[in-house]
Subunit: 404 residues, 2 copies
């Protein structure tokens, strides 16, 4: 919060343009001891030149040792301390499927599960049913459940995961979860977590919906029951135009990233589906915004697959298109990732993420190639990711002097 | 505190093993300009290999320029911000002599002193009486003082220093000290520092004990009086198993380190007296714990002696036994010190301390030998010591993802 006091005090409009290019899950590890990381292995002449001309470092999204989810990792890149601004699980689930969440909506993550005849959970993930089955079940729930005076939305996410949203006035997210987190026990009732009448009323509503939903699912196998977790509402984050005095446009293909950008007050632009189309959108909207968030998903996807070579190729694709961004002559160009996704681990990891901050006012350090180990020796050192945006504002001439 | 909220939220049990090997007072300085430090001078092929395979840096125990005591320096290595979690002087004194402090005990550090006929202090350290004299005096006080309804313990520490512990219900540590800190003035009475009846009652008790003790010592020379400082109780620190979900075993020979480990909820294991015996204890207990703190004292002792060559030899002894630790195949192995004790200074110092963090998931940096200047170029940079434990948990697969 203190940081935003500073930003609100110092940020000023200017003519400059900032581009934040995020290669999702960029950071990596050697796939075999002594080898290069994905980024070190990739042939990236354009990124190497940018690294040589700019200054480099490693950004830490959340805290030492902590692997970030996509939501908090992007909040950090947008300048928000992810430990202060906590987006609830239900809201992230809604963003992930592109649900158009309204400020009063209550969202939760749902899991289908299997229960025995006594109602005790025997499989918390219902045998990881295929997404198509999830879609059929959520359609059945959408059609067959109702709460008087409220709207209910039930949407498939992936496999056994679904999204539950309740829309209406006076809903509270101060609710306990229903998943007992172990098998052999029945689901728990939703309980209000504070003394407000809103929490009590919302708990009643959700318990009634659970009753209807479980009755509907009783004849299904293996997904004959369900749970709800992570009740949450739009956290009402401070907005980019207010805090940073930036007109901000988001160019991202996947719903999660479009959703987080919307939560911080960016305009979400028509991005198409490929990187070429995303860069075309950047050109098309260049005059309209001060700040552009450009997101590329597939570096993360190939890391999650454990496919080192494919992740290398995705990095090289981005490198090949970098000149199409540079020709727009941004005043500040940042290239980084939101977190690491080493193919070795097939998952998001806690390792800090390579960063290039390029600007005519950046003092070039001695880094001449873009890679994890090269960036260790960079001018930016290892730093909290949330510091990157204020630094960009400085280089963009968008922060007034502090004191006389 | 925020960090422990995060750790409590993310820490999860796992099968992995973490070893934290602490060479007390490891960091050093050149004994002559242009020369190597103790660690740089030492022949350490095993540590150098570990440094090459892992990532390195320098840890700062407390704050820039601040020389740590052993207690706070270890708290930091255990993941506790030493500026938040303050162990009182009396408690540290009790830990240092291996006193089995109970949660309700009130402990204080005592100093013998010399007073003139008017009761004015002429020597605050009673001519630094030998420890044997201290032991005779404390035995006399133990036998000759008593407080109705309470137990009193008086134990020698070193030279003019002794430990005072009062045991009973309802004691407060909110008490002023008796040492006027200058000669030529009389000792001060103990005053309650808050308005509680406990503080008032405890002040009365301690003043009565001081009256009895001074009467007993009146015929002694030079230690004919005494003072009490640093009244403190067990700070009730959050415990390792609760915060980090770690079953933790401490292997340390000296009471201070065993005591601090106990305060954070580690099991204190039978460590023997030599490093070989400590490592044997590590092997013996390997299956029982997730986290092992292994402490080696003599690097610090030789630094305090000002004996550069002897400190080098102690470091080489540890190096020679490193393979006996590595053969256990820990998932994370950290080698560091709690603080620096340069032989040049013959004292604890504020200099940051070399660190190796080795793990199969650590990205090796360009450091290939273990030393202060090599570590300056390491991936970890210079970082707060309290960040080391969360980082180890990440590498050990013991932290769940933050957010989705």
């Amino acid at each position: 919060m203190a940081d935003f006091d500073l930003m609100r005090r110092l940020a000023q409009p200017a003519e400059s343009k900032i581009v934040l290019l995020v290669m999702d899950g960029l950071g990596g590890l050697p796939i075999e001891p002594g080898g290069p990381t994905e980024l070190e292995a990739a042939h990236t002449p354009n990124l190497d030149r940018l690294a040589a001309e700019g200054c480099c470092g490693l950004s830490q999204p959340i805290a030492p040792g902590v692997s970030p989810g996509s939501g908090p990792a992007h909040l950090a890149l947008f300048g928000y301390d992810p430990l202060v601004y906590d987006i609830g699980r239900g809201v992230l689930e809604a963003l992930g499927v592109g649900f158009d969440l309204r400020p009063d909506d209550l969202a939760a993550r749902g899991n289908f599960c299997t229960v025995d005849e006594q109602g005790r959970i025997t499989d918390r993930r219902a045998g990881r049913i295929p997404t198509e089955v999830c879609a059929r079940l959520t359609a059945r729930l959408q059609a067959g459940t109702a709460l008087d005076g409220y709207e209910v939305f039930v949407q498939p996410v992936k496999e056994y995961r679904y999204l539950f949203v309740l829309r209406g006035a006076g809903l509270s997210s101060a609710l306990s979860e229903t998943d007992p987190l172990v098998v052999g026990k029945p689901s728990l009732p939703v309980q209000p977590l504070d003394d407000s009448p809103e929490a009590a009323r919302t708990a009643e509503l959700v318990n009634e919906w659970l009753r209807q939903a479980r009755a509907l699912l009783a004849d299904e196998r293996p997904a004959n029951s369900l749970n709800l977790r992570g009740f949450a509402k739009d956290p009402g984050l401070p907005k980019f135009p207010d805090v940073f005095k930036l007109r901000a446009g988001a160019i991202a293909v996947y719903p999660m990233y479009r959703g987080v950008a919307k939560l911080v007050g960016m305009d979400v632009l028509d991005a198409g589906t490929t990187l070429e189309e995303e860069i075309a959108a950047l050109h098309r909207h260049w005059a309209e915004y001060d700040f552009f968030f450009v997101h590329y998903k597939y570096t993360d996807s190939r890391g999650e697959d454990g496919d080192f070579a494919a992740k290398v190729r995705e990095i090289e694709k981005v490198d090949a298109l970098l000149p199409a961004i540079r020709e727009l002559k941004p005043d500040v160009l940042i290239v980084t990732g939101d977190h690491s996704t080493p193919a070795l681990l097939k998952a998001h990891s806690w390792h800090p993420v390579p960063v290039i901050l390029w600007s005519p006012t950046a003092l070039p350090d001695r880094v001449t190639s873009f890679g994890e180990r090269a960036c260790m020796a960079g001018a930016l050192g290892t730093f909290p990711a949330a510091e990157l945006l204020p630094l960009a504002l400085g280089h963009a001439g968008r922060l007034t002097r502090y004191g006389a």
